[in-house]
Symmetry: C2
Subunit: 330 residues, 2 copies
């Protein structure tokens, strides 16, 4: 009897383990429905060696936008907030800025003037805060700022304002052998400063807008320069992915007009592909914005193209049970 | 007695296996000596978790030059031979080239004129042969050429003229968890066309000189453009490694003045580092060249710096038992 009890015990343990393995949900923060099923189905068929859509692990490339796709981008891109904050921090060392625009508007918090800034104004602010230091100094400065600064609406660190359902996508894709690249219009070195700790994504897997650097032989350091090398937005996204990766993603996530070309290029490859767009339609838990937004514009023509080409629209309101990791009770 | 015999048999089998494991030489084509010992020792201490020099796998970045370090570069870089060959192949479609320099010199094999080409001439030849097609077409054209073309001295494919001792280094580093990047002054897309098949190195692990591409929405393709984005040579090497990888290598192999800054930058990091230079001093089996060579210049000042900074000089003549894989009898 003791032996039979033992055998029954083993049987139950085994079936419990098997059942836990087969029913474990890799995307628990996603509502059941078409979008979740399409992600799960795509990953299953491209990773199943007996499927006609099978893709070898080395070709499982995922491209995922950052601002508005992996983390909050409203009311301003976090890197813009960082830039304004750095201008203020550096103002004491630059007394001449008090009489110089665009700096004086930033130092005196003149929102009316700031709202009128053009591209050239932003380039000057970027040059003043993102160049003239070693790449290591820049990295340390961003890390320190992110450790201290807080978003005003949520009163949390910016790296806490990442999307829990997308973290689950990252973990799921990683576990299924995908190589994940962040493909951001934001600064490559800025995102690299937190990508490992926040998303478990290494610096070499971050593709972003990049400025030149200059090697200095005397102390063997790399200095960040103000000249822009490329802008990783719109057509710049497939161009930068080719530059860094040398081949096409098979799955791509975006959330705005800046991601359109990346999704078009991803779809143009042979074999099974999946293109998705996060739609910010949740004014209560996050923000609802679309064609009129200056940040993360989702134009009507993008929505039309998405529907025509069977790109999946992820509704934050309907498809995501939670938005941020802190909503999950530990 | 039979049982004792069995036990003794198992004992010998076990000790043989253990002994084979501990003495298996990862670098059999390297002569015993200082250079080989230094490579083995470096890899052992950075991969041993109980060593003070231990480096976690994700930080084991290796940077290795291609021309003259992984494969033959004399009497001309292979990509230059490809370029001249493509001009001839395209000449029929460009009757105007017959009367245009630098094209006419190439078409008529006018070595005297070719020897006088300046940088601008080469840029025109590169633009004519490396742009105006999709990235996929370029890749296919390079692959086809490499399958057919042969080096005149060795009468072998160019991808057969790779260095066996360096292949062993690649396999050894890979087995020890290193992430290996080719860092070449040559064209990134050119080297990507053979890096996987020849070295088992994926496209995203090839950093090279790059021209711009342009995304075309109507058919979602990337066209190679004539404008140069960056030249991955000299100071361009650390700059490009930062652009693509975002951090420093801990080991770097080069063979010429073009690799100097990459080695300086590698050495400037904290923790244990190893910098090596292949010295082409074997006129019999390969080539002997140095300060006067136009291809793969190894200046006296580089040799001086290498000695002062304890960079290892690899003598092809004395440190390598074989040069090419075909020398090994199968």
């Amino acid at each position: 009897m003791r032996q039979i009890g033992f055998i029954i015990g083993v049987f139950f343990l085994t079936s419990f383990t098997l059942s836990a393995q087969t029913t474990a949900d890799p995307l628990p923060s996603w509502q059941e429905g078409k979008v979740k099923q399409r992600i799960l189905h795509f990953v299953q068929v491209v990773t199943n060696p007996s499927s006609p859509d099978y893709v070898t692990p080395e070709n499982r490339i995922a491209a995922i936008d950052n601002d508005g796709t992996l983390w909050l981008e409203q009311p301003l891109y976090t890197q813009v907030i960082y830039t304004l904050s750095r201008v203020k921090a550096l103002a004491q060392a630059h007394p001449e800025w008090k009489k110089q625009q665009p700096f004086s508007a930033v130092i005196t918090d003149n929102r009316k003037e700031i709202a009128k800034f053009n591209a050239q104004d932003f380039e000057r602010l970027l040059a003043a805060t993102h160049s003239g230091m070693t790449v290591d100094n820049f990295d340390a400065t961003v890390k320190q700022w992110l450790a201290e600064a807080k978003n005003s609406r949520y009163q949390r660190q910016y790296t806490a304002l990442i999307y829990q359902p997308m973290l689950e996508v990252l973990n799921y894709l990683r576990a299924q052998g995908f190589k994940i690249y962040i493909v951001t219009g934001g600064g490559q070195d800025f995102v690299r400063a937190f990508s490992k700790k926040t998303y478990d994504i290494l610096p070499e897997n971050v593709i972003g807008s990049a400025s030149k650097t200059q090697f200095q032989s005397q102390n063997a350091t790399l200095i960040k320069m103000p000249q822009i090398l490329f802008i990783d937005d719109k057509a710049g996204k497939p161009e930068a992915i080719h530059l860094v990766v040398g081949r096409k993603p098979i799955i791509a996530f975006g959330n705005s007009d800046g991601d359109r070309e990346m999704l078009e290029w991803t779809q143009a490859g042979s074999g099974k592909r999946l293109m998705l767009l996060v739609h910010h339609d949740d004014a209560k838990r996050e923000y609802a914005y679309g064609p009129e937004s200056k940040v993360g514009t989702f134009s009507n023509s993008l929505m039309k193209e998405a529907k025509e080409k069977s790109w999946e629209i992820i509704s934050m309101k309907n498809d995501w049970k939670v938005i941020f990791p802190f909503e999950i009770k530990k």
